[in-house]
Symmetry: C2
Subunit: 257 residues, 2 copies
């Protein structure tokens, strides 16, 4: 096989099933919408892994990011990190990660995303995203209806604590923060049972939930990292009306970023 | 910026606006659906360029494919080539490409996708896709309503000739062929005005048109290249239930493809 040349940089979405589902049909989910608005600008890569927590995710991210100067691979212009929904599982769930360890793992992921301190390369823009609030009423009913029935594996206040931790790490590390937890909680009028307007199963976002998340993400990018807003990233290759039609080759020299 | 490591291979979609629009909201378009089913398997890259014909596209593809052994860049497992809708414009449109030259350009793109004859690398799987039929009734009305009014720039039988040429090149070169032209024409009962069920403006596919295209594409992959069907490509990193929970690091060794 030939290789895919790095004609444009990468917008990497790293997280659990809520990230993996970013291109789900009939959802207008955030990955799909990013792919659309960043077309001809950045390649939006799905690095979402259903069921994963940060304890497992850190091994994945280590392999997804190449800290060496390998010229053939595309550069990561943006790295979004979205965990917490599974880490916040309560014991004895195997997905449970203690809060201090969760914080350590998120910091470790940020440091994997950053260029080495002695490098003169441009920084990758890092965005932390908090998990959505849990509707334990729906989640409990869902788990109890399974065969065999399962016990509730998440608690409302515990997921909130993990969301708060993401916000605090973002502040401490000086990276952008997309507060999905608060935006969804506000949209539901701070009423747990009303969360179902934004969740499919008490845990995962539905189309309306992803819509809120996407708007918040784009708003944060516009405010904190305007240079990576899609409107500010030029096309990798020219618009067809800008091509020199009589001598097209001249329009395609040195277009690679 | 750090680089994106090649943890999985690439499914490259190369074409014009009908490819670029593959992640359009409210469409369940083919790029989005491929992104979804190939999640954790292949990265689906949008290399669609609105308005482009093969004459301009060949310069782009030359830059998107790295024929050298650059280890950092991901390998192209699948290359889909979808042109003809703009090449088939009639004179004096600047998008017009004469049919013999269109055929030459498509063959050139295939040869760019192939590994060098003296290489022992695996082949990139190449798929040619024919352009959809044109509804000249709607297209004419659309162009005449513009300010200033424009003349009809495509003819039904000419686009059909370009679609036939794609089929013939696929056969001659021994690569897979997705016959969008015929599938949409059949679905419309071979009735030009009925094409509007599958097109938004006489030229671009709508949700129903993309649905037919996607089903045909997946069917062709299943028949001709079953090894690249998403069901036959394992996850790049393990499903969370397969992770060794007490010693997770052991689950992430040598997972890179």
């Amino acid at each position: 096989m030939n290789r895919s040349a790095a004609v444009q940089d990468v917008f990497m979405l790293f997280g659990d099933s809520i990230t993996q589902g970013g291109w789900e049909p009939d959802m207008n989910s955030f990955g799909q919408r990013l792919s659309h608005v960043y077309a001809r600008r950045l390649d939006v890569l799905n690095r979402g892994y259903s069921g994963y927590n940060t304890e497992w995710g850190r091994f994945v991210l280590q392999q997804c990011i190449d800290p060496a100067e390998v010229p053939g691979a595309p550069q990561i212009r943006v790295l979004a990190i979205w965990f917490g929904a599974n880490d916040a599982c309560i014991k004895p769930s195997p997905q449970h990660v203690p809060l201090p360890r969760f914080i350590e793992n998120i910091k470790r992921m940020i440091s994997l995303g950053r260029v080495p301190a002695n490098s003169n390369r441009k920084e990758t823009r890092i965005i932390l995203i908090s998990p959505p609030p849990v509707n334990t009423i729906v989640r409990k009913a869902d788990l109890e209806s399974r065969s065999p029935p399962m016990k509730l594996d998440r608690e409302f206040d515990i997921t909130r604590a993990y969301a708060d931790a993401v916000r605090d790490v973002a502040k401490g590390e000086g990276v952008a923060f997309v507060d999905v937890w608060s935006r969804i909680w506000e949209a539901a009028g701070q009423n747990e049972s009303a969360l179902q307007k934004f969740l499919v199963d008490g845990l995962h976002l539905n189309a309306e939930g992803y819509n809120i998340m996407y708007d918040e993400l784009i708003g944060v990018i516009a405010r904190e990292y305007p240079e990576i807003h899609y409107d500010n990233i030029p096309y990798t290759f020219p618009a067809w009306k800008d091509i020199n039609w009589t001598n097209p080759e001249s329009s395609f020299k040195a277009e690679i970023v």
